[in-house]
Structure formats: C-alpha cells, structure tokens
C-alpha cells in the first residue's frame, strides 16, 4: 500500500508499461506536463503508444521527444503540429491523429473516469466531428453523442502531493491533469514537492489519493515556456 516511488521509471515499470499501451498525459501545451514520466518513457523505449493529450509538445520537449524516437503510433488531441517532426510523420502516414474538440476531449475523459459511458454535447454538430455519430434532438436543439474515454495508464503532473496520493495543482498547470488522474486504469502522479500525509488541507485537495497508484517527487523540472510574452517595463 505504499504509493511512493523514487523515480518515474520505477513507477512506469510497476505500472506495467508496455508496447501498444494507451496513455493519457496531462498538460496544455508545455504547461503542467509530466516531464519526468515522458523522459522515462523515452528511456524505457516502449513503442506503438496511443497518447491522449491535448497537444503533442514541441520538437525537442514535451511529448515531442517521443515522436523523435518513433514511439507514438497515434495521438488523440485537440491541437497538434507545433513541431516539424510531427508534421513529417503525419504527412508520411506514419502517425495517426484523432482530433477532438477540446471541450469534448475534456468531458470524454471526465466521463471515462466517472463511469459515464456516453453523453451528448452540442459541440461539433454539423461538422466533420459529428460524422458517423448519433445526432439527437433534445428540447429542439441538436446534440452529438460522444463516448467516455479511458486509458491503460495516466501520467499526471501536480505541484504538491502527499504520501497518500492527494494532489494540488498550481494555476493553469491544472488543465487536463485532474480528469486524467481519474480515467487511467493505473495513475502515476509526479509532483514538484512531495510531503508527508497530513500536510495538505483536506478542503483544498484537487485530486484525492484514491485515484493515484504511484506518486513521486520529480526532478530537474525545466518547465519550458512556449510563448514568452511580456509587457514593457514601466507600463501598467
């Protein structure tokens, strides 16, 4: 019943990382991504992965580093292609891409973790997104049925976590992480700061430990910024 592991590699091996796995990876752009887990997946060299993540990193950082090594077979995302290697593999037919509207992706993952096999949303009705799906009228408005989404494994990044797996996210690094923690058969969380159980305010837990199988304090966080934007010094 000890959830604490020393490294991401240890967590991934305990979680049975293997070729062909479906993995949910938290983060929006490069914000709130599980850097240690991604690096360890690269090092462990598994292949044919299906990755569910809002984006796919950049050429040399984030999930992009798993493209360079050709470990990803399929991406399920709302927005991709911020890097050249992605584009090359996609155009060459080496990489499969399933594009899902961001809100639908978030809700499908939330549904998967919450035991909801399907739900209706207005998003995408009348577009390619709804093709081949059930369209249905509720109270005079059309909706498309979307399915809950689960994964074999979810890799999640939080700011602080305790030994019981309780986690707190920081600012917009929260994004997809909380839902993904609920929707993986196994869930690994890496945190910047791991504290003993009892140090966190019970009212302020974002992800209760029940969802977390392994937790580790990550190291060497780069936390790269994709679009560094500033206001001029001296401006309001």
């Amino acid at each position: 019943m000890n959830k604490v592991v020393a490294t991401a590699a240890e967590a991934l091996e305990s979680a049975g990382l293997r070729d062909g796995m479906t993995i949910m990876a938290g983060g929006f752009g490069l914000c709130g991504i599980p850097e240690n887990c991604i690096a360890a997946i690269r090092a462990l060299g598994v292949r044919d992965l299906t990755i569910i993540s809002n984006n796919c990193g950049v050429d040399d950082f984030g999930l992009g580093i798993l493209l360079a090594t050709r470990q990803i077979r399929k991406m399920v995302s709302s927005y991709v292609g911020e890097n050249a290697e992605f584009e090359r593999q996609f155009l060459a037919g080496e990489l499969e891409v399933d594009l899902v509207p961001q809100g639908t992706l978030a809700e499908r993952i939330r549904a998967g973790g919450a035991g909801i096999p399907a739900f209706y949303t207005p998003t995408g009705v009348g577009t390619v997104v709804a093709e081949g799906k059930e369209i249905r009228d509720f109270d005079g408005r059309m909706y498309v049925m979307e399915r809950g989404l689960r994964a074999d494994l979810s890799i999640v990044k939080a700011d602080v976590g305790d030994h019981s797996g309780n986690c707190i996210y920081r600012k917009t690094a929260r994004n997809f992480n909380p839902m993904m923690a609920t929707a993986g058969e196994t869930c690994i969380v890496e945190v910047e700061r791991l504290v003993p159980t009892g140090q966190l305010d019970a009212d302020q837990i974002h992800t209760p430990g029940i969802f977390v199988d392994y937790i580790l304090e990550g190291s060497n966080y780069e936390k790269r910024i994709e679009q560094r934007t500033n206001r001029p010094a001296g401006s309001a």
């Binding site: 809100g103 600012k171 994709e226 934007t229």
Partner: protein, 220 residues
C-alpha cells in the same frame, strides 16, 4: 475619425461589444488585442479555456510563470478575483452557457451564420482546439475578420467552402467595412464604415444580405 489600420479598426469596433459585468473569452490572435481596449471603469472578466477566469496583463520581463499561460500559450498574470479550474470545469462553464461573449477570428462565414475557422484543405490540419465548443455555447458569438482574404476574395459567402467549425452559430461579424448580424439564418447589415459605400460593400460581399431598417455608421 482616427487614422488606424483595418485590423485596428476591427479590434476597436469589437471592443464596443463589451458590456459591464461580462465574462468574455477572446480567441487567439487579433481577438486577444481587444483586451487592450476595455473602457476604463468597465468590469470585464476574461476567461481562458485552459482553466482560468480573470486574465491579467502580460508579465514584466523576468516575472513569467511557466504555470500561468493563456489558451494561446502566452505567459500572462492573474488579477484579484482570479480563479483556476480544470479543463473539464472550464468547458462545462462554456457549454453551460456561462460565458457572456466570445470574440474569435474567422476564415469564412456563410449568409446563414455558419462558421469556418479551423481547417484549410491542403494545409496541415492542426486541430480545432476549443473553438468548436465556444461557438456553439457562448451566449453571444462575435466573429472578427478582414472583409476579404489576401487575394481580395470575399470571406462572407453564400456557403462556406472550408470545413465548418459550427453551423448557424455566429451572432455577429465585424469586418473593417461593416457589421452584420445573423437572425434566423438571415444575414442583416447593421453598420457600415462611412468610407465604404453601399455598392462597394455589395461588391466585396458574396453572401446575400438585407439591410436593417436603419443601417448606422460604424463607429470605433
């Protein structure tokens, strides 16, 4: 009349869509600039669909926080009263009709109010991000775009030629020449830029539209 570029004109006119107390989502690019023109004293809360209410200005150099970005992945700051939440909660908020106004850029709009703004055939498809959710769920959906593309071809069309983002979802479109509303699948001219004649406007607008009972001058 101020001497401003077409794009500045569009942004300034779009800023007039803001109303005190509005919770607003601004799209990436030109719409983001609308935030620079919030009238003094007006209380506007900006939402970022990656999970934040209360977007503040860009940070000073050296004060960037990698954990604090907007949906365009730009570094931002928080304000008193800001809050953070998950992407599921963010789009629950959006789909649930809690966003008063979204202002987004468009590639094509049909005379029925269909929108295309996410996919150009022949170019790499990068994805729709959160746009499809926003345009079907915000209480008010305002599109901004230059009236014609770079080659001078109209972007207000009888039908969209590009894959749709949403059907009959646009409430209003603002270009450098005019403001049109969409009501029950009909396109109606509401405002015309004073230097653009009614005839000129017809010429650069492929979509069929009627004129409102009183078309007013577009003011910025």
């Amino acid at each position: 009349m101020k001497s401003v570029s077409s794009r500045e004109r569009i942004v300034l006119r779009a800023a007039r869509e803001l109303q005190d107390g509005f919770y607003v989502n601004l799209g990436i690019g030109m719409p983001t600039q609308v935030a620079n023109h919030i009238p003094a004293g007006m209380n506007i809360v900006l939402e970022s669909e990656n999970g934040m209410l209360g977007i503040g200005p860009f940070p000073y150099e050296g004060e960037e926080d990698a954990d604090l970005i907007n949906a365009g992945k730009q570094t931002i700051t928080e304000l008193p009263g800001s809050s953070y939440f998950s992407s599921a909660d963010s789009f629950g908020m959006i789909r649930g009709g809690h966003i008063d106004l979204t202002i987004m850029g468009a590639m094509e709009i049909s005379q029925e109010g269909d929108l295309a703004n996410w996919m150009i055939p022949g170019k790499l498809v990068k994805g729709m991000g959160g746009g499809m959710d926003l345009v079907v769920s915000a209480r008010r959906v305002v599109m901004i775009m230059t009236h014609c593309d770079k080659k001078g071809n109209p972007k207000l069309l009888p039908q969209c030629t590009l894959p749709l983002t949403g059907k009959r979802c646009v409430h209003r479109v603002i270009t450098e020449h005019a403001v049109f509303d969409f009501e029950d699948g009909k396109m109606i001219l509401k405002e015309r830029w004073p230097e653009t004649s009614a005839e000129e406007l017809r010429k650069i607008t492929a979509a069929e539209y009627t004129e409102a009972d009183s078309v007013v001058e577009m003011v910025i």
